[in-house]
Amino acid sequence: MPAARADRFGAAVDDWPSVRLHVVTGKGGTGKTTVAAALAIALAGRGRRVLLAEVEGRQGLAPLFDVTELPYAERHLVSTRRGGEVMAVSVEPKAALLEYLEIFYHMGRAGKILEKIGAIDFATTIAPGLRDVLLTGKMYEAARRRVGGKYVYDCLVLDAPPTGRITRFLNVNEEVVGLAKVGPIRNQAGSIMSLLRSPQTAIHLVTVLEEMPLQETADGVADLRRVTLPVGGIVINQVREPLLSHRALQDAVAGSLDREEVLAGLAAARLGGPRAGSGTGAAARGAARLQLLADGLIAQAAEHGMRVALEERGRKDLAALDRPTYELPAIPSGIDLGTLYDLAERLHAQGMA
């Protein structure tokens, strides 16, 4: 794990000082929601006011923070000692649309009529692309919201759709710009794209060191770069420390582990049952058990070695993407608020927030 990089004030270096919109994506199962939550806490740890948002209606954030459900209203989750705060919201397309109509067009009544004739349903379900327009629009609104000339939120962290869908999701407003040559919706879409393309946005990708997620990460970075959206850092999640020495890993994969040595070790640990001298029958059974056990352990070591080798290759492939990387350990016991703080500290120490 990279060492903590501390500046002279004792706080770790911040790799993304100008970023206000942190978009966190990743292949399903890589833990992007957990990383988004940890990143929000880490940012709040620097004293910032952070809005953590999910947009897929999965209610994935609620269990992490031990609350029953996130409503479509920004609610307070945690405060930090340095005056930071994490607020959270689960953005729901229909509510976002009605709110959007009210804020931008002052259309409370017409909004109701649109709902009555089914236009709202149409916009949010039949034409799911519009759903993405609304969700990104809501992010834009929250990022730009001011009270008394000051931004309400210093930062936004978006638990975004998965890597396979992220470019389409973020780039949807570009489509709108293409469709609407003039008019208010074009202006709106154009402003959202400007924010997303600006240095105020960073799109972080979460991966684990397995083949498919690594491939999707590489593809995702290429897709984002193609449409000139700003790729942020790469978070390698669920990292497990190798349990064997480098030499033992190599031998295990090559099938050349010292079986006699393993047997001697197992005997020394008295894992063969009754020791020699307690009767020849029992001793023979004990020896046979040890042989079986040794073979099982050696075969498992070979699989472990193959996995570690695969992970090493994965790290090299990620390095070729030329983005800052951050590593988080596997948490076998599951994530709760305590582990989230721990993960947040690790991200902070590595300079992600």
Partner: protein
């Protein structure tokens, strides 16, 4: 896993050998090996004598290559190197969402109307970029394949489909209802009014509410966009009816006894939560569920030694010095046993919530599947597990 929660075994061979099984739909959260499962089931069925076509949505590149799918062209292609000694065959295809959409339009609109639709900027966006279209088109393609299979007595007798990798993977179940409410709704009437009445005359004949709504739409979208939308809807009008009919047809096809849904999951909290959601959803829609395929299950090659004992032994060896290799191997073992226990507990939670669901587990492989050999290995475990499960 404790005995009380031991689920019924999903007998994969019985499912694919049953000639009454005509469609197998694999669904589940993203990243659980859905496509691999679909391909493995299809391969096994073909090698056991079925004439199979497998529709994949977005296969990993190397898996696609293994099946000879080099381009996304909506055409089923024969997969080479399949064992055909039992008289079966395997064809595979990747869904081309835009082309499938085009085909629907062509089938339902006059040539000029079709050209109008194809040229409309909204159609271009809807058919190629907007998320969600994939779900509709996957089901549309399934309907087409099924119709083709019925028409040709020498054609496929089993269709295996993968579903799009999203939470909305079951959105296709809602498609007919949504399209219906849209068609019967007033929005489409409002949007089609100007095109029908010509010019602005409609303002005089429609109600004030509709005037307000149209005004609102103009205000939000701008006049040019509204005109585009209106001409799109007007041109699309004839197609929508056919669209709904087809969606309803496919929906009913899915409820037939010849269809089997296979929910795919991995022994992880999120994936199993999604699996529960799918199981409930399928149940409430009357869709026939064959069972759950649990991928990437970790096993141990030395089951008799508990994690606790292995760790204690490793510690003893560490203290006495020497035997570092054995101590390391014992730690590797302890990790595996722990993982196995966690997965067992998660699975038990699922099966006690859904005791009626048959389950089959596929052991985790050291590397991902990217050739037919790998697929055979997966399908072998799918079938073998049915025999060994619960023993």
């Amino acid at each position: 896993m404790n005995a009380a929660a031991s689920p019924r075994a999903l007998d994969v061979d019985a499912l694919i050998d049953d000639l009454e099984t005509r469609v197998i739909v694999c669904c589940g959260a993203g990243g659980v090996g859905k496509t691999t499962t679909a391909a493995a089931l299809a391969l096994r069925a073909a090698e056991r004598g079925r004439h199979v076509v497998v529709l994949t949505i977005d296969p990993a590149r190397r898996l696609a290559q293994a099946m000879g799918l080099l381009e996304l062209d909506n055409t089923p292609r024969t997969v080479a190197d399949v064992d055909t000694s039992e008289g079966g065959r395997l064809e595979a295809m990747m869904l081309d969402m835009k082309r499938t959409f085009d085909e629907v339009i062509e089938a339902h609109a006059s040539p000029e109307k079709a050209q109008q639709i194809f040229a409309n900027p909204f159609y271009l966006a809807l058919s190629s970029s907007f998320a969600g279209t994939q779900e509709y088109m996957a089901m549309e393609k399934l309907g087409q394949l099924r119709a083709q299979a019925e028409a040709d007595p020498d054609g496929w007798d089993l269709i295996v489909v993968d579903t799009p990798p999203s939470r909305s993977a079951l959105d296709f179940l809602d498609a007919p209802k949504r399209l219906g409410s849209f068609l019967d709704g007033r929005l489409i009437k409002i949007l089609s009014v100007p095109a029908r009445a010509g010019g602005r005359a409609y303002l005089r004949v429609v109600s004030a509410a509709i005037g307000t709504a149209t005004g609102a739409l103009t205000k939000i979208l701008g006049a040019q966009v509204l005109t585009d939308v209106q001409s799109f809807v007007a041109a699309f009008d004839t197609v929508f009816g056919g669209f709904r009919e087809r969606a309803e047809h496919t929906y009913h096809l899915l409820q037939e006894p010849g269809t089997a849904f296979v929910v795919v999951a991995a022994p992880e909290p999120d994936a199993l939560r999604e699996a529960s959601y799918f199981v409930d959803r399928l149940g409430s829609q009357g869709m026939p569920l064959a069972g759950l395929v649990l991928n990437r299950v970790h096993t141990s090659l030395a089951e008799g030694l508990s994690a606790e004992r292995a760790l204690a032994a490793a510690e003893d060896l560490g203290e006495s010095g020497g035997h570092a290799l054995t101590a390391g191997l014992l730690r590797v073992h302890a990790h595996r046993m722990r993982r196995r226990e966690r997965e067992g507990a998660l699975t038990a939670r699922f099966t006690s919530a859904h005791p009626e669901v048959a389950v089959v587990s596929v052991p985790a492989l050291a590397e991902d599947v990217h050739d037919l050999g790998g697929l055979r290995e997966v399908s072998g475990s799918l079938a073998k597990a049915a025999v060994a499960y619960g023993v």
